[in-house]
């Protein structure tokens, strides 16, 4: 038992008796901040209690509350909630439709706060940003909408893991994804899918249209209350709730869309391919003659020789590649690239919800169904489910409630980018190869590489997830100033994956294979805490939270691989006859945590906040079971000081600063134990040692300092915030290499540190706000610089084609390799930077140097929204800069046949041909080609600006819809990824390494992002 927090609670209780309970009546009027019109039917709630009232038809209200009540909360459909301090007995309140209001309520860990009083850095994203987005999970929709939150969906495949880095990567070997908390419950966000394929994203089971707001806790002041799990930032997801005394609003949201690839590479057609082949042979022959290698008398003799040599070595001729068709006359011109895409891939979404409440009960119910085909063949996503959020007040002091969602999703997947069977690799097939076998008329199996269309036709990989996320809670107001809340939640995720590889396919290996994965992840969590908000008079405002939390996660998985199928008719294990591998695993981890937070404001101008969390976890070694994570912060509202109070320009100005410690506990469940694996030699089951013990193992620790300014100018026409931060992560979890003569290769230790520093800005400006026309601009930008400070002198490598590294003194993810310096115009040789700093044509003699980084330095977005009468129009541009992208497939598709007969990219047509040619493409040839190895030749500037979203909507006039008994009707058309400006020859948003820490920006036949058009309808009634 840990007594220190219990002691604090007792202390708190004894303080309570100082304040006796009296009541008073507060009256006032609620108006629209912009128009000044009175707002009838606004719900007013007294602080923590369930004492309620509503405004009358003229916007007036009167409420009888305990005099200790610190605040009143005003809520009204279509307006941002406002929480206003009770300072006397009369108050007039203005509500605004903008979420940027200073009285806006922001969800924080174990509570909520008013934006004005917050001393930490929190980005809030509201429902309108995440709804209707044509991607399964909400993270895609928040890309570049919150400064400092870098979202990368690494391909156009659906359901893939999405990389999120909040203020940079703060770990090398531990998971760097943020903690996701849905309505107070931390949820499973790491993949449970097939470990041989890319990670999937379990957050697809949260319906984006159910989300009311997403708060991203960025600095330590905001996130340290989540202690050992907060170092990567915390994403709080709050689902929609009903309001008291609200007419039930039904909302139907339906849209349909089509998708196509946003950007494609260009490959040779049949004629170009044949010409390029001949040119490559000629290049070999010319090189031979120029260098007097074989003593040929004529060019033709040399060409004949090399044509024969190709057959001798590769065993292939163009005749064979063309399967006997007349390639000389372009009989066949197969566009293999187009075969890997779905054309006009359809998507459909329907959401129906109802929101309402009376004076004791509030509810939100929704049901949804959506189907989406990826732009790549065989990749689909289906989902349906529902949600019920219900809250009821049996008494004025007690409220009880439940938030629950159930959902079933199905994801049909394709293999990882690095597989012959993946559709993306079809582009390697020569265009002279027919799609159908000219003799049999069947799909052509006699192709250069295994024909992935067989896999597409005969293989299947379906994963079905059934998921329930829910919590029940009770809130009891012990005193006007003291409430106790108890929550119990569970996240139950069941995943069933069934994959089949037919006999005809590469992966089926001629025998047929099937495998299944059954995963079950159950998280249960309870939070129990007191919220204390005494009324300390006009000048002092205090609120405190103290409580505990316990979380336990049990993950079980069973995997079975089998083979030998009589036919392809049965696509599960029952069709196989030999089990090759089966296992089941069982993992548990838990966290027992105590937390305390206090916010104090003096005179509404000087703000202080401190929090501390004590986290114990089964993941930490016995010598370091508990970790303490404190934070302190302060703010000063300058605009309330006399020298600014009367400023016409500045209506709000706050400076704030914070410091705190957070941890990363994603270090593996059993990393500190001495472990032996079970081995399976036939008839002799045994053990093999697998892990050295380290009883000192603990969380990674991040200390973060943040300073920021929040401002509102010209009566909040211009609002925004700036932040600078410095994050230093120490005790990095590292696998330290040990001599393998010990039998082990690594020891997992806390060692080393790295930092991230950066700058963030977000500005919203209402440029024009006239009666009929409104124009607002929202801009955000963030800069982050990472540096690995100390990792014990190790070099930790990652990446895909071109090595990426974590090395001391450089940012994580730095590309490292040979630097391409262009083509020698005389010889056509690729030139590299030599060890001596001079160009060399010898690849092996080239120096390996730092070539750039896959992580952007600047990211941001710009949204312009216009509305004119019923029309609304918005454009959202997103940009990243400072990053590099490596085309890891370049060594196969852009080497002038050096690596075989793969089809080539069209830029290769500009290759060097004769002395004096100035070009960036080296000499081609099966034997004499140059520049075919991994080097910066295939590394590109990854900057891009993308018109992510453009949408136009029309809201039907009230007069018209009133007759139809609708509250509002809006129709809209949206386009996504419509314009892309980049120097990268493919799609710049690709990363075959999905969520890796070191590897990134690697394109290996990766599927580009989708360009999508949707047409939708939103009806309220």
């Amino acid at each position: 038992m840990r007594f220190k927090f219990s002691f604090l609670i007792v202390l708190l209780i004894s303080v309570l008796h100082v304040f006796a309970q009296q009541t008073k009546t507060v009256t006032g009027k609620v108006t629209d901040a912009k128009t000044g019109e009175a707002l009838p039917g606004v719900t007013i709630k007294a602080g923590n209690s369930n004492i309620l009232t509503q405004t009358t038809a003229d916007g007036n209200f009167s409420i009888n509350i305990p005099s200790a009540t610190p605040t009143l909360i005003f809520s009204f459909v279509g307006y941002a909630d406002a929480e206003v301090a009770v300072t006397g007995t009369a108050m007039d309140v203005k509500l605004t439709t903008s979420e940027k209001s200073l009285n806006e309520v922001v969800v924080v860990g174990y509570g909520q706060a008013v934006k004005r009083d917050i001393t930490g850095s929190i980005s809030k994203i509201t429902t309108k940003d995440v709804r209707d987005f044509p991607a399964p999970s909400f993270e895609s929709a928040i890309q570049n909408k919150a400064p400092g939150v870098v979202v990368e969906s690494g391909s156009g495949k659906l359901g893939q893991g999405i990389k999120i880095r909040i203020r940079g990567t703060s770990s090398i070997s531990a998971n760097s994804q943020p903690l996701y908390v849905v309505d107070g419950l931390p949820v499973t966000s790491t993949t449970l899918s097939d470990p041989t394929n890319d990670p999937t994203d379990p957050l697809v089971d949260i319906n984006p249209n159910d989300i009311e707001s997403v708060e991203i806790l960025k600095d330590a002041s905001a996130s340290a209350i989540y202690g050992a799990r907060a170092a990567n930032g915390v994403v709080l997801i709050t689902t929609k709730k009903g309001h008291n005394n609200q007419k039930t609003v039904f909302e139907l949201d339906a849209n349909t869309g089509i998708s196509n690839p946003a950007r494609l590479r260009h490959f040779l057609n049949a004629q170009q391919y044949v010409d390029f082949y001949n040119q490559a042979v000629k290049s070999d022959a010319e090189y031979d003659i120029a260098n007097d290698l074989s003593g040929f008398n004529s060019l033709n003799q040399a060409i004949n020789y090399y044509n024969k040599k190709i057959y001798a070595v590769y065993g292939l001729t163009l005749d064979q590649l063309a399967n006997g068709t007349d390639w000389k006359n372009n009989k066949v011109n197969t566009n293999w690239q187009s075969l890997l895409y779905n054309h006009d891939a359809p998507s459909n979404q329907i959401n129906l919800s109802a929101t309402g409440g009376d004076d004791k009960t509030r509810f939100f119910v929704s049901g949804f169904y959506n189907t989406q085909d990826a732009i790549v063949i065989n990749n689909k996503f289906y989902r349906y489910g529902g949600r019920l959020n219900l809250e009821h007040n049996p008494t004025e002091k007690l409220s009880i409630g439940i938030n629950i969602s159930v959902d079933r999703s199905q994801l049909n997947r394709v293999t990882t980018d690095n597989a012959f069977s993946t559709p993306g690799q079809l582009v390697a097939q020569p265009p002279i190869t027919p799609l159908y076998d000219p003799e049999t008329g069947e799909l052509n199996s006699n192709t250069l590489y295994p024909n992935g269309l067989f896999d597409a036709k005969y293989n299947s990989d379906k994963q079905v997830t059934n998921r329930t996320i829910g919590n029940v809670y009770a809130n009891y107001t012990l005193l006007p100033s003291l409430a106790f809340r108890s929550e119990f939640g569970a996240d139950i995720l069941n995943l069933y994956q069934e994959a089949f590889q037919g006999k005809q396919t590469t992966d089926g290996a001629g025998i047929g294979k099937a495998n299944t994965i059954i995963s079950q992840a159950t998280t249960y969590n309870t939070n129990n805490y007191f919220t204390y908000t005494p009324n300390l008079g006009e000048k002092n405002k205090l609120s405190a939270v103290v409580g505990m939390s316990y979380l336990q996660n049990d993950s079980k998985q069973s995997l079975t691989n089998a083979e030998q199928t009589p036919s392809d008719k049965i696509k599960n294990l029952s069709g196989t006859t030999s089990i090759t591998f089966a296992t089941s695993t069982d993992d548990r981890y838990n966290f027992l945590s105590y937390f305390l937070r206090a916010n104090y404001a003096f005179n509404d101008k000087y703000l202080f906040s401190a929090s501390i969390r004590d986290d114990g976890s089964s993941r930490f070694g016995p010598n370091n079971r508990y970790g303490l994570f404190p934070s302190v912060s302060g703010g000063w509202i300058l605009s309330d000081e006399n020298f600014l109070k009367n400023s016409k320009f500045v209506n709000f100005l706050k400076i704030r600063a914070s410091w705190g410690l957070t941890g990363n506990a994603e270090i593996g469940n059993f990393s500190y134990f001495n472990l032996y694996n079970v081995s399976n030699y036939p008839d002799l089951p045994g053990y093999i040692p697998s892990q050295l013990p380290n009883p000192d193992l603990k969380w990674e620790k991040t200390a973060q300092t943040d300073a920021g300014i929040d401002f509102g100018f010209l009566n909040s026409r211009i609002t925004g915030e700036f932040d600078v931060y410095y994050k230093k992560t120490s005790d990095l979890l590292l696998n330290i290499n040990v001599p393998s003569t010990t039998g082990y290769t690594i020891l997992t230790k806390n060692l080393g540190n790295m930092n991230n520093k950066g700058f963030e800005a977000g500005i919203t400006s209402t440029n024009i706000d006239s009666k009929n026309f409104k124009w607002t601009t929202t801009f955000n930008a963030a800069y982050n610089k990472n540096k690995v400070l100390n990792i014990g002198g190790q070099i930790i490598e990652g990446g895909f084609g071109l090595t990426q590294r974590a090395v001391e003194g450089e940012p994580i993810g730095e590309f490292y390799g040979q630097k391409f310096l262009g083509v020698d115009p005389q010889t056509g040789d690729a030139q590299y930077l030599g060890e001596d700093g001079k160009p060399t044509t010898d690849y092996d003699a080239a120096a390996r140097v730092v070539l750039g980084n896959s992580n952007p330095t600047w990211t941001g977005g710009l949204t312009n929204t216009f509305s004119y009468k019923g029309f609304d129009l918005s454009f959202f541009f997103s940009f990243v800069t400072g990053n590099k992208i490596y085309n890891a497939a370049g060594i196969y598709q852009s080497t002038g046949f050096w690596n075989g007969f793969d089809n080539e990219t069209t830029d290769m047509l500009n290759s060097w041909k004769k002395p004096g040619d100035i070009t960036n493409i080296p000499r081609i040839g099966f034997w004499s080609g140059s520049g075919y190895q991994n080097s910066s030749r295939f590394l590109y500037n990854g900057d891009y600006i993308r018109l992510k979203t453009a949408s136009i909507g029309y809201t039907l006039p009230n007069a018209l819809i009133k007759k139809m008994h609708f509250t509002s009707v809006r129709v809209y058309v949206s386009g996504y990824n419509l314009i892309t400006i980049t120097k990268y020859p493919g799609d710049p948003e690709v990363n075959t390494e999905t969520i890796a820490n070191i590897g990134g920006g690697q394109d290996f036949y990766t599927i580009p992002q989708a360009r999508t058009f949707t047409f939708g309808l939103n009806v309220r009634f």
Partner: protein
Amino acid sequence: MKYIKYLLGALVFTAVFSCNKKLDVLPQNNVTSIQNGDDVKALLFGGYSLMQSASAFGEQYIFISDLLASDNQLDFVGTFTDYKDISFKQQTKESGIATTIWENSYLLIENMNIVLDKISLVDESEQKEVAAEAKFMRGVAYYELINYFAKPYSAGNTSSTDGVPLVLQPTYNYDSTKNKPSRASVEDVYNQIISDLTDAAKDLPGFADNARATSYSAEAFLARVYLNKGDYTNAATAANDVIQSGNYNLTSTFNQAFNNPSNSTEDIFGIQNTAQSNAGTTDNGIVTFYRYAYDADGNNQGGRGDAQVDQNYFNAFDDPNDFRANFFTQGYSISGNPGIYTLKWLTFYRVVPVVRLAEMYLTRGEANLRKGGAPIGGVTPEEDINTVRERAGASDLSDVTGSDFVDERFRELGFEGDRLWTLKRLKLDVGDYAFDAPELVLPIPQREIDVNSNLTQNEGY
């Protein structure tokens, strides 16, 4: 004051969850300590899995030596650069293959060191045999390490030439000052191997279930070790012990010695494989490389087919009726290269013969020939070589010489990982390379030198 009761209630509720013991969660998929005799025996059996690994007899112990040997045996036509490098003798000090052979071998040694350290937990009646089996595996691991990572014994100066580190105690906790051994001399390593294998031969039973090591498995390896040393008397004696045990018989036809679901009558030691337990079928495992990807008719056959037989290999045969010269088929590699494939490694999930009786005949015959004098076992070198030839349908040889044995080993044991060591021990050129060329010795893995400054790198890296 009436609120106190609610507060206390809430407090109690809070306290219920505050139990520290919940944080003690034990792994459910791994063992965390070695507590009794059964655990020790499980560790011993774990050794067989490590020998089955692709980094040991499942592939690399056998395949890599053939890739390093002269290129008149096989051609590597695949795309894996680590293997390509080895076949061109261009492996670098970062070679992934050198690293995995090294790591897996030392893991096997660690496993056996724990067994030997915890032997007192085993029932007394079994202790001797368990220890002997552990020493067999440790001896084999050191034998493969010294072959791959040091100059051959035949190069001389064995007491001053670097061998490999000798680690004979388990590592329970890593100590960065203690656990950094330097390389022992070739002589010391050979002495340790001979000591381990001799102990194993003494205490192991003559028969064992489940294809476990026997005293003859140990003797067969001793025969290899002595032959490498040029200690022909001991080599012939060890081989003779195996032959005369009567436990093994040549299979009646050559093909019956391969692709068997369990040990053949001539397997003195073989690695068992099943559909559930094997060294791999897609990127690893000896069959993966030797089995064609497509047969001559283009049907998918599931191998990679990266290892093709070199045309020159057929020049080694002296008799057209030799069955061994026809034990091949046509096919294609996974990247479409047509070629010839040996049938020795045709089928997945079958026994990997590690030592066959045929080798013992050739070893006894050659050792008797080279030592001169009365042949050990009372059988002449001609009789031994012809025993092997007759089974393959090849005509008898007379007046055999040492080089007849070299050639016969190539014919009989081709693709089974013998060629390189035979050439090295006899100081014969390996293609264009001298027997002791640095290119024919794998590098000490760079990662190993990076973490252990006491290690020296091999020449040429």
